[in-house]
Symmetry: C2
Subunit: 233 residues, 2 copies
């Protein structure tokens, strides 16, 4: 990475507050990589050979059960770290990571983790803050799973994606990467059949528009009411 | 805390690898506290005034939704840190903490967090490892909620408690603190009615014995098969 790139990257959350010298040094240890849509970056159970910073794109983090069921744990967006198994005290990746669109990322060798944490305490603190907020986010999702009806969970999942990645179009807010009904079911712990039934009902009411791997929120206020449980199907 | 106490505490996971001098210093900043069963240690949303190390007892960490639903996020056991909002980058507690039995704990003022982390890097690393494993644990619970039937979740919750806190008795493995059917429902995201139906069925088969706030696992192998989904009700 060149000095020019260092200026561009200084404002990415994991690098905030790091002095320029350390930043350049950290970036000199990174490799820039391109992955096409649908490619597996790493697999659950594989030795954690690298950790990553997503510069452009979206990455799905997927947990696979021993029975082969898939659950989408989260979507990684621009400027987020992922594959940070070492920060979790793990030697192996706890999930699969698959590109949801074409992606550009930086990667560092996993074996550098210890040195990096010691040498760049600000980077370490930023990373642990990331782990902390992911714990909160996962905890909240667990509470949602335990207490919300499936309609609310689906509404919430779509709203979050629209906020995280939405692009304004004439029709409404388009989720800006290919997303299938199967993906939504894997995010909300329900069946494909249920997701289809819910989306069709919302489509009839003009709340969303969905096509093959495409969802547009046409009435975000209505969707927010559904998520809050204040509007019933 | 005296020097004697320092030797007793050196083997508690958060303090592992810390040299004796630092350990004594860290402990000199702590206050020892006793809480009776059923007492609230801190509340969700309250300013994170202290963080805690549980020396003896069990603590329930409970998330409360805006609608007033309760979800038991985890049980804290001996030797575990809790209330570490600062390590999660939070200024307020993200959950309630309530004693499940009479408890003894150490507490440190929350405002010392920054200093402690800087001065005792081993303690910091140990704490972040704790946060990392809690993220894993929560993630796995989320996958379980999304993919397992309710019988499996209840079997798993009871098995975990029996492993974490179980005491051998003539009848089997007794969960060594008061636990109600309501608690189990708040751990597994189901209703009290469903938990009662499941436990009654298992009781008829001699797999568990349960009384008011008391559960004994009488056939742990059978319960493990139920958790794995290899035995059906």
């Amino acid at each position: 990475m060149s000095l020019l790139d260092a200026s561009l990257i200084a404002d990415v959350p994991p690098f905030r507050g790091i002095n320029r010298e350390n930043l350049v040094e950290l970036l000199s240890k990174a490799k820039s990589e391109r992955y096409e849509i649908g490619r597996t970056i790493f697999c659950q159970g594989e030795e954690a050979h690298s950790f990553f910073l997503l510069l452009d794109g979206h990455v799905r983090v997927i947990k696979v059960t021993p029975e082969g069921d898939q659950v989408i744990a989260r979507y990684i967006s621009n400027g987020e770290l992922f594959g940070i198994a070492h920060a979790l005290g793990l030697e192996r990746y706890p999930a699969n990571a698959v590109t949801a669109v074409d992606c550009v990322m930086l990667s560092w060798p996993g074996k550098l983790w210890g040195t990096i944490i010691e040498k760049y305490p600000t980077f370490a603190t930023n990373t642990y803050q990331t782990v902390g907020s992911r714990l909160q986010e996962t905890q909240n999702k667990l509470v949602e799973m335990a207490t919300k009806r499936v309609e609310q969970r689906v509404a919430n999942a779509i709203l979050k994606l629209a906020n995280q990645t939405g692009r304004k179009t004439d029709e409404g807010i388009l989720i800006d990467f290919p997303i299938s009904r199967q993906n939504i079911s894997e995010m909300t712990g329900t069946t494909l059949h249920t997701v289809s039934r819910i989306l069709s009902a919302w489509e009839n009411k003009g709340i969303v528009k969905s096509g093959r791997k495409k969802i547009t929120v046409t009435e975000d206020h209505q969707l927010a009411l559904l998520a809050a449980g204040e509007l019933y199907n």
